[in-house]
Structure formats: C-alpha cells, structure tokens
C-alpha cells in the first residue's frame, strides 16, 4: 500500500520532468531552425520633403481603400520665421516590432510575425475583427479594412512587391531616396551601411517593442506641450 503510493508519485514526477524537458528541447530547436531574414526600414527625415509619393504608391500597390491608410507622412510646423521656414516629416506606419504587442493579444492567430522575414502580418481570413490588436498597438497604425473587414497595416509589401522580388512601393517611389529597405542580418546590405553611417532613433523604444523602423532625425522644431 505505502510502496505503491511512493511508486506512483515517483513515476508521476519522472513523467512531468521528462515532458517539460522534452518541450524545452523542442522549443529551443524550433528557434534554432528558423534563421530567416530580418527586414527593416530607415526613414531619413533629413531627406524627406513631404511629397506623399510614398503613401500614394502604397495605396496603389496594396489596393488600400480611401479613408484608411497603411502609411502616412505626418507634418509638423512650420517652424521659424517667414521666409526661412521649415517642417518636420515623420513616417506613421507599422513599426514591425520584434516584440509584438498586436500578435500577443490576437485571439485567433491572425496577427503573426513571419519567421522567414521577420515581418509582422495579418492573415485576413483568420481575423474576426475584435480590434484587440488596434487597441494594443502603441503606434496606432492598425485599422479595419472596410473591404476585407479584417485588421490591416503595413507589411513592407510582403504580399505584393516582395513577392515579385522588388523593393516596397514606398521605397521605390521616394524621389529623394529617403527610404532604405533591407535585411539587418546582412552586413553588406545598404540598410546596415546607412544605419552605421548616421545616428538614428526609433519610436517608443522604452516600451520594449524593439521596432524595426529606424529614423534619421531632421532639425527639431520647438517643444510643444
């Protein structure tokens, strides 16, 4: 009687230890197997002229309906006195976080980070439109697409331009070459060269989101409270 209970407890413990060891081993091999690219983007705000060629091209290529947008250029200013005035332009689009708040809250798995490219995307057919991701995104770049009724946002043109082996629409549309796109893991890529040659910043890094949209800061304006 006593012996059999001890035996039972022993074997139960062994099973639990074995199972947890197996899952740990499995998960570590999984992360090791995936060794894809890590796509990122640099927006050189010193070169940006606010012409909106990027957002126009984005709308055309990704068939983004009017009224919503995956990419916006936000304008601040004018700073200074006429006629020596200037504006600041900042890019508002998905920041392609490494630590993704939107994926964490998605109940259906529609929001996911593609292991091959590191790009955060949406499986429109899995999305139930609960809008948790819209609430969770600290950059407020997600929206419900009025055509698909699914959450939508910038995916670096993963389903359009990247499939054709081309650069994202915004990058090729930019007349001043303010945008650079590429693989962070490739030391020879243009993006790595740009990032190493100029001081840059990312938005809201204090939240621990580790965004992959880098910015080269233009001249600051006054501080508004």
């Amino acid at each position: 009687m006593k012996n059999s209970r001890r035996l039972f407890l022993k074997s139960a413990c062994a099973v639990v230890v074995g199972a947890s060891g197996y899952t740990i081993a499995k998960s570590s091999t999984e992360t090791a197997v995936i060794d894809g690219k890590k796509y990122a983007l640099v927006h050189d705000e010193t070169k940006c002229i606010g012409c909106d060629a990027c957002s126009v091209a984005c709308r055309e290529v990704n068939l983004v309906p009017e009224g919503v947008s995956r990419l916006k250029i936000e304008r601040e200013g004018p700073y200074g006195e006429y006629p020596d005035q200037y504006f600041r332009f900042t890019r508002k689009s998905c920041q392609q976080c490494e630590d993704t708040p939107c994926v964490k809250v998605c109940p259906t798995g529609a929001a996911y980070k593609d292991p091959e490219t590191g790009i955060v995307s949406v499986d429109a057919w899995k999305c139930v439109g609960c809008q948790y991701c819209i609430a969770a995104c600290p950059y407020q770049v997600r929206f419900i697409n009025p055509v698909t009724h699914a959450a939508d946002k910038c995916d670096f043109c993963k389903e359009t331009r990247l499939k054709e082996g081309r650069q994202p629409a915004c990058v090729s549309a930019c007349p001043t070459k303010a945008l650079t796109f590429g693989d962070l893991k490739d030391p020879e890529s243009n993006i790595v060269k740009v990032l190493k040659s100029a001081p840059n910043y990312r938005s809201k890094t204090e939240l621990g989101t580790r965004p992959k949209v880098f910015r080269i800061a233009s001249r600051e304006g006054e501080v508004t409270l």
């Binding site: 909106d52 060629a53 126009v56 004018p78 001043t176």
Partner: protein, 155 residues
C-alpha cells in the same frame, strides 16, 4: 402618354439648349475690361488675354498691376516682369508682385508648401492666371507628388 413625351422631349431639349447657349454668346461678345487694355493687347492679342479669376471685372486689375509699367517697352529699357521659371526676374521679384495682395499667412493656411517655396520658387511654377482655371486647382494626389519630384529628386 408616349405621344406627348415624343412631342415634348425635343421641344424641352431645344428650350434647355437655348438657355445653355445664350450666356456663352453674350460672354463672347462682351470683352472683359482687362482685355480692353489697348496699350498691351494691341501687340499681345494672342499671349496677353486674361480669362482666369484675376480677369474678373469686379477686381478691376490691369496688366500693369502685376507686370509693372510699360516704360520704354518694347524698344527701350523697362522694369516689366514676366512670370515663368525662364524669365530673367528673380523668383522673389516675381513673388513680390503676387504678395502685393496675397499675404503670407493666408497662403500658408491654403497650402503648407507656400511657406517653404515662396522666396525660392516663382509662383508661376505651379500657378497660371491667364487661363480660365488655374491648372494647380484640382490636381490629384499623385500628380501633386510628381510635381514635387520634378525638382526634388536624388541623382
């Protein structure tokens, strides 16, 4: 019913057409005040006529208001200015003619690009006052960004 419709439709159409055409006929016969300026229009019949908003009789503008006094033109020296990127007058001289009436604040509210271009690019690079409508009005977003990249482009 159908007989009435068959009879009245052409009648109605002709009345409507008469109504539509009559103002155009009168507009063609009455020349705008600005285009009766003999001093200029005598020679500039083809390239001098004004049809845009600025030609409005109520505004009472003359060619000289924008282009300056004739003085010795065409044989001798004058301070006349033309409005185009190729004209000798510097952009800020050309812009000054427009700024006589249009103030910087209002222009800034109308479009932010005024703030950063006004002393570097002449107004005529984007605007035209002689034609009936200014071509910049109603440009699409893509046409607009193409206009930006005409000048701003990385080699």
């Amino acid at each position: 019913m159908s007989r009435i419709a068959g009879f009245s439709a052409p009648l109605l159409a002709s009345i409507l057409m008469l109504g539509a055409f009559s103002p155009a006929v009168t507009a063609a016969t009455v020349e705008l005040k600005i285009n009766q300026n003999k001093q200029c229009i005598m020679c500039h019949k083809r390239n001098g006529k004004m049809f845009g908003l600025h030609a409005n009789d109520a505004l009472d503008l003359t060619c000289q208001n924008c282009h300056g006094e004739k003085a010795g033109h065409p044989r001798k020296a004058s301070d006349l200015i033309g409005f185009s990127a190729t004209f000798v007058a510097e952009p800020d001289v050309q812009t000054a003619a427009c700024l006589q009436c249009h103030d910087v604040e209002t222009l800034s509210q109308a479009d932010w690009t005024h703030d950063v271009h006004s002393n570097k690019v002449n107004c005529a690079s984007c605007h035209q006052l002689h034609p009936e409508t200014d071509p910049i009005i109603g440009v699409t977003a893509s046409e607009r960004s193409e206009m930006c990249s005409d000048c701003h482009s990385a080699k």
